[in-house]
């Protein structure tokens, strides 16, 4: 009897929960309402199955308790009943599958018209590229990556010079227009996921993947990495601001082309380098300690190492920690920072200068 009571509470609670739960879909902000609808259909179909089968179990438990000397009914087969149950289940499955496949068909067929933008992932930051005036992405190659050419673009390809590079984790997109994304990773697997858009796709190094959506609400939305990509996975956050078409154009025109970035000097570019190398994913500029210690007010301070030693955070320490991070591990942090051994002296200077500016 105890089981019947507890199971009844569980079944009723499970059903009621759906009506009262405060944890539900984030407000939809894209064209992918079909996914939500398919979930709702699935909830109804599976909910009915759950209540019927659990109800049957509870009924049997109440109705047929053990009686000494009593024998249960002997019925090894009932082909007709089994056939009926199979048919009903098959119908239920088809009701679920059909809308699912239709929605998937829309999801994988890229539209002909729309804004093209490339999302690039690396541990643990996002960046973006628009194809520029000619509407064609320049060629990229894994061999061309450098701290200067963080998109791995081919400077000899005429299509690449006008490509617009967004070297920060925030990108703007126009409302009510198809956005066709090409996705690419520099290092490991990532996943481009915007909860309010319901859209999601892995970024795979060595190949391109595609994703499309149409933003339908103005606002700023978070991009969360949804494929485990190492220790900083949870901190790989990006932003998408959905603008009106006019605001979007104004914003886009302010962004540098590949040609322009080629002419930037190294000096004074520390902040940019820290951004493009992904340093900022772990080292904040606002005093909050993340996976690594914050840079805010760090220069000139003293720091306790895991070995117990106390060191001064000066230019030498900073540069050593970039080139050979495991040499001196700050106390309380995991020794997980990759070595950035190929940076030039100018680039190291620029980063150290930038960190200096964050301290008063």
């Amino acid at each position: 009897m105890a089981f019947a009571i507890v199971a009844t509470i569980i079944v009723i609670g499970t059903v009621l929960w759906n009506a009262v739960t405060p944890w539900w879909f984030t407000p939809l902000a894209s064209n992918w309402g079909a996914f939500d609808q398919t979930i709702i259909i699935s909830l109804w179909v599976t909910g009915v199955a759950f209540v019927l089968v659990s109800g049957f179990i509870i009924y049997c438990v109440i109705k047929f308790p053990y009686r000494e000397g009593h024998k249960s009914e002997y019925e090894p087969e009932n082909t007709k009943l089994e056939l009926w149950l199979t048919v009903i289940t098959t119908i239920g499955v088809l009701v679920l599958l059909a809308p699912g496949l239709i929605a998937w068909n829309d999801y994988v067929a890229l539209p002909d018209e729309g804004i093209e933008v490339e999302g690039v992932g690396q541990q643990w930051v996002w960046s973006y590229r628009f194809p520029g005036e000619d509407g064609v992405y320049g060629n990229t190659s894994g061999r061309l990556f450098s701290s200067k050419n963080t998109f791995g673009l081919d400077p000899n390809d005429p299509n690449s010079l006008d490509d617009i590079l967004i070297r920060s984790a925030e990108v703007h997109l126009p409302i009510n227009e198809n956005v066709i994304m090409q996705l690419r990773s520099k290092d490991v697997l990532h996943d481009f996921y915007i909860p309010q858009f319901r859209a999601k796709m892995d970024l795979v190094p060595g190949q391109h993947t595609n994703l499309w959506f149409e933003p339908t609400l103005l606002g700023t939305y978070e991009v969360a990495c949804a494929e485990y990509c190492g220790t900083g996975h949870f901190a790989m956050r990006g932003l998408i601001t959905v603008d009106t078409k006019e605001d979007f154009q104004v914003w886009l025109e302010k962004q540098p082309t590949f040609a322009q970035t080629l002419n930037e000097g190294v000096e004074g570019s520390g902040k940019q380098i820290a951004q493009t190398l992904g340093c900022v994913a772990c080292h904040s500029d606002n005093g909050v300690n993340g996976i690594g210690p914050t840079w805010k007010d760090s220069f000139g301070s003293t720091r306790e190492l895991a070995s117990g030693e106390i060191v001064l955070v000066d230019e030498t320490y900073i540069k050593e920690s970039i080139v050979n991070p495991t040499a001196k591990i700050a106390s309380g942090y995991a020794p997980i920072m990759p070595a950035y051994a190929t940076l030039s002296d100018e680039e190291l200077d620029a980063i150290a200068d930038y960190i200096k500016t964050l301290s008063n």
Partner: protein
């Protein structure tokens, strides 16, 4: 072994209890090692829950060792606990006894299988003690991150020990598996034709088949990954720009590893689920005192599940960058596999109709399994249905789903099985009151842990996040819910020690069980001595006259007729 042949018995303590070739001792060895490493896995999950429920409370939990806990918890539970315990433990104990044979077909290989498994566990445990610790790559071990700096344990020995341990485990599994298959095909008692085998033997047989065909995919994946890591081959490694430089890799495909992994990984779900199905089939029939409904249909459903299990693997990869049109195929096969699975559930619950249900502890576990498996199976229809998977993939919905369907459900079946067969092993009953306390906490507690996770998933919270702090779309209330889940997890975790205590104390002080305490029809309860001795059957092998579910047979004196009783003796 033919009748009348003198039995070989081991001499001395070492031969009897340590390097034993008796399937029953080997089963116990498997069960003890699996439970020990399983407790470690549970402890790791509690550390994770502490971080999620009370972030910052334990300063020693940083992102690095959080991911190490996540990874080792998953791998330990799936492979080293559940696979080993179901096939090595239950498989070893039940297959020869239930088939009426004296032992496994190859007892020496069977012994080796355990010791090689033990070695794989030792290698796994070693990785906790090497510099930079075990791998934190997630239990799926996806390259490139699993072998590149930036993931805990990737630049140390952690990942290599993990892959090596898996390879050793697979060797152990293969030795055990060939034994189970051969024994089922060759060593059945007279009269025990295939369609008279208890359903659990069918389940163990098919699960072993799945394992023997699926594990090789993981083995080659692991070896290729070791090559990529140690020899700098590029099976799974494309051109990679990392740490400011272009790495010495190029041309490989990370998606290839995922195909290999899930070609193993999905059948693995059924390697765990099928033995659980088997246990439930035995227990529900015996404790409801009713014949199992639709035996033939059950066997064919199992065969269908085992077959289709090999063509659904890419439903783990809908958004992984494979050709998206493959989604149509894999969504269809995945939803088709729901049909034979549903048939299993129908037949279990119909078995309860007009039954004579004894509310024993094993029966409670059966009923709890049905409710939990129902929830876990039905949520699988969401994730398998490709379009629904897009918003839910890699969120807490997935965590809730797979824990319900392949963690809690199998564990409930496992506990039911332990309570049911404990008297066969020890000759004593487990304490009923402690059993019920343990049951209620485990059943209700796990439901409260995993059910709410589905809704955190609807909200879109990604899994494998060390902290949700910086995301504005995740409301503060998610932290409250996480706290609640953590408290439940701590209670459920603590409750498992009730079982452990019950196990140890009842072995000495438990009520004497007698030869067939549950009144079961299957052969393991019909041995000459109980608990059964070495060789199981004394001088005379049993002869089988009927199927294993003659509960409530009209015309019989008792409400059950064991398999070895001929028709003329039933009254």
């Amino acid at each position: 072994m033919y009748e009348g042949q003198a039995l070989y018995h081991p001499k001395g303590w070492w031969g009897r209890y340590v390097f034993s070739q008796d399937h029953k001792v080997i089963a116990l060895q498997y069960i003890c090692v699996a439970l020990a490493i399983g407790l470690t896995g549970m402890f790791l999950s509690l550390l994770m829950r502490m971080q999620l429920g009370f972030p910052g409370l334990f300063e020693s939990i940083d992102a690095g060792n959080y991911y190490q806990d996540v990874t080792m918890h998953g791998m330990i539970m799936v492979i080293y606990l559940l696979t080993a315990l179901f096939l090595g433990g239950f498989g070893n104990y039940l297959i020869p006894l239930m088939l009426g044979s004296r032992d496994m077909a190859f007892p020496f290989v069977n012994m080796l299988s355990f010791w090689v498994y033990f070695l794989s566990v030792i290698i796994l445990v070693c990785s906790f003690f090497v510099e930079s610790g075990p791998t934190g790559a997630g239990w799926t071990l996806y390259p490139p991150q699993s072998i590149l700096p930036g993931t805990p344990g990737a630049d140390g020995a952690g990942i290599l020990l993990m892959l090596g341990s898996l390879a050793v485990f697979i060797i152990a599994f293969t030795m055990g598996g060939l034994n189970y298959i051969t024994t089922v095909l060759q060593s059945r008692a007279k009269g025990m034709n295939m369609m008279r085998m208890p359903l659990i033997i069918w389940c163990l047989f098919l699960a072993t088949f799945l394992g023997l065909l699926a594990f090789p995919a993981l083995l080659v994946g692991a070896i290729m990954l070791i090559f990529d890591r140690v020899l700098e081959t590029s099976f799974f490694m494309p051109e990679i720009f990392k740490g400011g430089e272009v790495l010495n890799y190029g041309g490989g495909s990370p998606v290839l590893f995922q195909h290999l992994f899930w070609f193993f990984g999905h059948p693995e779900v059924y390697i765990i689920a099928l033995p659980a199905f088997g246990i439930i089939s035995e227990l529900i029939s015996c404790h409801a005192r009713k014949n199992i409904f639709g035996y033939n249909m059950m066997v064919w459903a199992l065969i269908a599940i085992a077959g289709i299990a090999f063509i659904v693997w890419a439903h783990h990869m809908y958004v992984a960058g494979m050709n998206p049109y493959l989604g149509f195929f894999f969504a269809t096969t995945t939803l088709i596999i729901a049909i034979p699975t549903a048939i299993k559930v129908y037949n279990w619950v119909i078995t309860l109709w007009n039954a004579n249900i004894r509310m024993t502890v094993p029966m409670l576990y059966c009923l709890a399994f049905l409710i939990t498996f129902l929830i876990g199976g039905l949520t699988g229809l969401f994730l398998g249905n490709v379009a629904v998977d897009v918003p839910l993939s890699d969120t807490y919905f997935v965590v809730g789903h797979f824990h319900m369907v392949m963690a809690v459900s199998p564990v409930l079946a496992l506990y039911g099985g332990l309570y049911h067969w404990y008297p066969s092993v020890t000759g004593r009953m487990l304490d009923d009151r402690l059993g019920k306390i343990h049951f209620w906490i485990t059943f209700v507690g796990t439901y409260l842990i995993y059910f709410p996770m589905h809704y955190i998933g609807f909200l879109g919270v990604p899994r494998r996040y060390y902290s949700n702090e910086q995301y504005d779309f995740i409301p503060e209330s998610v932290n409250d819910l996480n706290q609640f889940i953590t408290v439940c997890a701590l209670i459920v975790g603590a409750a498992q020690f009730i079982l452990l205590y019950n196990f140890i104390v009842s072995a000495v002080r438990g009520k004497e069980a007698g030869s067939n305490p549950w009144g079961a029809c299957t052969l393991e309860w019909q041995t000459l001595e109980s608990p059964p001795g070495h060789g199981n059957w004394g001088d005379k092998l049993p002869v089988v006259y009927r199927w294993p579910y003659d509960y409530g047979l009209p015309g019989a004196t008792d409400d059950f007729v064991p398999q070895n009783i001929p028709d003329e003796q039933i009254t």
